[in-house]
């Protein structure tokens, strides 16, 4: 309904690393904040500056009740509004958009962080995401939930171990051009196929590496964006969607939540056929099988045709994860922010060695919860 638009004026990423043992996440966020201020010159004046910050972090990963309390100062939130997206970070952008479209704010800072190296195991944490009576006792976590989905999806789509290796090899080739990616070493398919089996059929190199990172963005209303940038990236659609909880109640290969989110986001952005309109896609590929599967959910590939899509070089055609994606290493919780940041850089023509020409419209996708229970989709345009 609203004819108003919201722009990303600047993005800043902290380089992803497997173990930033020497740095508090407060320090990581401060680097990001200073980067954003250097790019745009915004301040926190109570009338003309940023009065609202949407942060993104997680109490379990930070090991603190109210994780945002520990970072209020380095978010610049002293005596300002701050609200934490306690979900995947792409939703922080969606909510920040709403604050601006509502007219309540005209500048919003989005800041997310996660240090996966801090807890002894991310799987111990995701086990606590299951119900305390059955799922936890059964030993479910996000990894073995993904393995169940991977097995089911491979059966449905014809995806093979060779396809998975091809996806990982391509991801690393892309990551080699992304200075912010965690694992930038180029590897051969044999190494992927020879890597240890984590949870059948997911091998170690099919899974994203443990990562520490932080991302920030400045969002502004259409009227104010020009104060901060000549190259605004317009946010024209956002939606998310929730599937049911128990695996027995879900069809793990149906992409129910992603299809719901994509359909609503496309509708808001006025996109009828994403295959024709969208030039670039960033998906949250925590595991290799998810690249083709999420591309199906987003409407770029026919249902159950994931293997064919890879064989037909669909990943190259739709410019999927030129950043190296999550497979090259960024933390959960804020992977969606990295996805959107990379899409925004491409739209601004600032993607460096990763840059491809003529990117006018991009999609960033993220997921949350076991085996893609929840998905979010953001449409960005130049």
């Amino acid at each position: 309904m609203a004819a108003k638009r919201v722009a990303i004026c600047a993005v800043a990423q902290h380089k992803n690393d497997s173990d930033l043992w020497y740095k508090r996440f407060q320090g990581m966020l401060l680097d990001v904040l200073e980067d954003l201020q250097a790019q745009t010159g915004f301040d926190f004046d109570s009338e003309t500056g940023v009065r609202s910050i949407v942060s993104c972090s997680d109490d379990f990963f930070d090991a603190r009740t109210i994780s945002n309390n520990g970072v209020t100062d380095v978010l610049g939130a002293q005596y300002r509004g701050e609200e934490k997206m306690a979900q995947e970070g792409l939703n922080a952008i969606g909510y920040a958009m709403a604050q601006i479209l509502a007219g309540h704010e005209d500048l919003v800072l989005v800041m997310g962080h996660c240090k996966e190296s801090q807890p002894e195991s991310r799987e111990l944490i995701s086990n606590l995401g299951f119900d305390p009576f059955y799922g936890r006792a059964l030993g479910l976590d996000c990894l073995n939930a993904a393995a169940l989905q991977a097995r089911a999806y491979m059966a449905k789509s014809g995806l093979t171990e060779d396809h998975l290796a091809e996806i990982v090899v391509r991801a690393r080739q892309c990551a080699a051009r992304n200075p912010y990616a965690n694992c930038r070493e180029i590897i051969e398919a044999g190494k992927v196929k020879g890597s240890p089996m984590l949870c059948d059929p997911i091998r170690q190199l099919h899974a994203y590496p443990v990562s520490d990172g932080a991302v920030g963005m400045l969002l502004a209303s259409e009227e104010r964006a020009k104060e901060f940038t000549d190259k605004p990236v317009w946010l024209t659609g956002f939606a998310n969607c929730m599937d049911s909880f128990f695996f027995g109640d879900r069809d793990l290969t149906s992409n129910f939540a992603l299809k719901g989110a994509a359909e609503r986001a496309y509708k808001k952005a006025g996109i009828k056929d994403p295959k024709k309109t969208v030039n670039l896609v960033e998906v949250m590929d925590a595991y290799a099988y998810q690249q083709p599967m999420w591309m199906e959910g987003l409407g770029f590939c026919k249902d159950g045709q994931g293997a064919q899509f890879i064989d037909d070089a669909g990943l190259g055609k739709y410019k999927v994860n030129l950043s190296g994606g999550m497979l090259a290493g960024d933390p959960v919780i804020i992977s969606g922010l990295y996805r959107a940041a990379n899409a925004a850089l491409q739209l601004r023509g600032e993607a460096g060695d990763m840059q491809v020409p003529d990117v006018k419209c991009a999609v960033a996708q993220s997921t949350n919860g076991p085996a893609g229970q929840f998905h979010s989709v953001l449409i960005l345009e130049a």
């Binding site: 930033l20 740095k23 407060q26 320090g27 209020t72 380095v74 002293q78 002894e120 606590l128 009576f133």
Partner: protein, 389 residues
């Protein structure tokens, strides 16, 4: 003696020696006094794994801690968990003079939780007999023709004949002459068997039930009736709810970063290192990456103290359990805010005060730090502050 929730105050004290766990109390040496208005006073002496419970007339003497309940209902209710102890303490219906913490720490450790005695069912044999016709299942008794006699001795007992014929059932007072089978037993055994608290098989084998006539017929009768359900028992069954207890713990390794790193390095050298805001001059203790007000990095460090002045003081009487270990600190202890010498007037430092100095501690008092013998750059390097005389 008043009864609440099926128990009396005396029941609770009488069962104390039985519920006592000597092994858990082997290091304890304490006398606890109890007063329950309208019921009496008790003194419980626990010494090196032994317990003595005595009723006291007159004053409670020689007790380190005394617990006072406004009435029997409060005392029994909180003991059984039917009344929230916190609510009773809040409204003053339950009072503790001395160490309140005992209620949460020592007592649950050294005593098995008191439970009300199994309430004897108020159901008597007559009640059960009176429900026989409504429990009758004609579909199961097709073609059956028999007379079963019950001779039940004792309270609630009597003599009855149950006539089953043509898919119908009737109960008659007294014993018929032509019984198929007669069962003779104490009425309470019959009730126990019907409620399932006594096994029928063992009652037969132990001879508590005497059979005259067709034994097979006696065995068959239960088929013809729906099970008797104690109407009083229903409520307590519904109260039985299910919870599971799990402790979740995930080990972490926290980075200190440069600001906190300097702080811990300072502690190792018995120094308080604060960082200074280059804009407003605030000395930040403990140090953090930026000054929140000025939003600038604070890279310069200065040494504060070691002495300082108390700006605010909290005496803690109720310590919450350590979230990681569950341990509860000894109370009372004091958390003080101390403006260290050389600090800017906006930032005080929070720490413990020596227990012995609690009575003399006040805002404006001067204090000095007391360090551990060996400092390692951890929280435990600093023991406490004491008054600087």
């Amino acid at each position: 003696m008043a009864e609440f929730y099926g128990t009396t105050v005396a029941d609770i004290f009488n069962t104390m020696p039985k519920r006592f766990k000597p092994e858990e109390a082997k290091d304890e040496d304490i006398a606890i006094g109890y007063e329950c208005k309208g019921e009496g006073k008790w003194k419980v002496t626990i010494k090196h794994g032994t317990i003595k419970v005595e009723e006291v007339k007159g004053d409670l003497k020689g007790c380190a801690t005394t617990i006072h309940a406004a009435d029997a209902e409060t005392f029994i209710g909180t003991t059984l968990g039917k009344i929230q102890a916190m609510d009773a303490l809040t409204t003053g219906k339950l009072r503790v003079v001395g160490d309140v913490k005992l209620l949460m720490t020592l007592l649950p450790k050294i005593f098995v939780q008191y439970t009300a005695p199994e309430k004897k069912s108020s159901v008597v044999a007559k009640d059960i007999i009176s429900t026989i016709t409504e429990r009758f299942r004609p579909d199961k008794a097709a073609g059956v023709d028999m007379k079963v006699g019950y001779d039940l001795a004792g309270e609630g007992g009597g003599k009855w004949t149950i006539v089953i014929k043509d898919g119908k059932c009737a109960v008659k007072e007294g014993l018929a002459k032509d019984l198929t089978v007669k069962m003779t037993m104490p009425a309470e055994i019959y009730v126990g068997m019907m409620l399932g608290t006594i096994s029928g098989e063992s009652a037969f084998t132990s001879g508590q039930v005497k059979l005259d006539g067709d034994m097979m017929a006696a065995g068959a009768t239960s088929r013809f009736f729906n099970k008797f359900v104690d109407p009083n028992a229903k409520a307590s069954e519904a109260e039985e709810l299910i919870t599971i207890k799990v402790t979740n713990s995930i080990n972490c390794r926290f980075a200190t970063g440069t600001a906190y790193g300097m702080w811990f390095k300072g502690l190792k050298e018995k120094k308080f290192l604060a960082n200074v805001c280059p804009k407003c001059g605030r000395t930040q203790i403990t140090p953090r990456e930026i000054c929140a007000f000025c939003r600038v990095r604070c890279n310069e460090f200065v040494e504060l103290g070691p002495r300082g002045t108390i700006t605010a003081a909290d005496v803690v009487y109720f310590a919450s359990p350590d979230p990681l270990t569950g341990a509860v600190r000894e109370t009372p202890y004091a958390m003080c805010w101390i403006l260290l010498d050389n600090a800017s007037p906006q930032e005080a430092f929070c720490f413990d005060i020596k227990r012995e100095d609690l009575p003399k501690m006040k805002v404006g008092a001067r204090v000095r730090p007391v360090w551990a013998k060996e400092t390692k750059g951890t929280f435990t390097d600093l023991l406490y502050f004491e008054l600087d005389k």
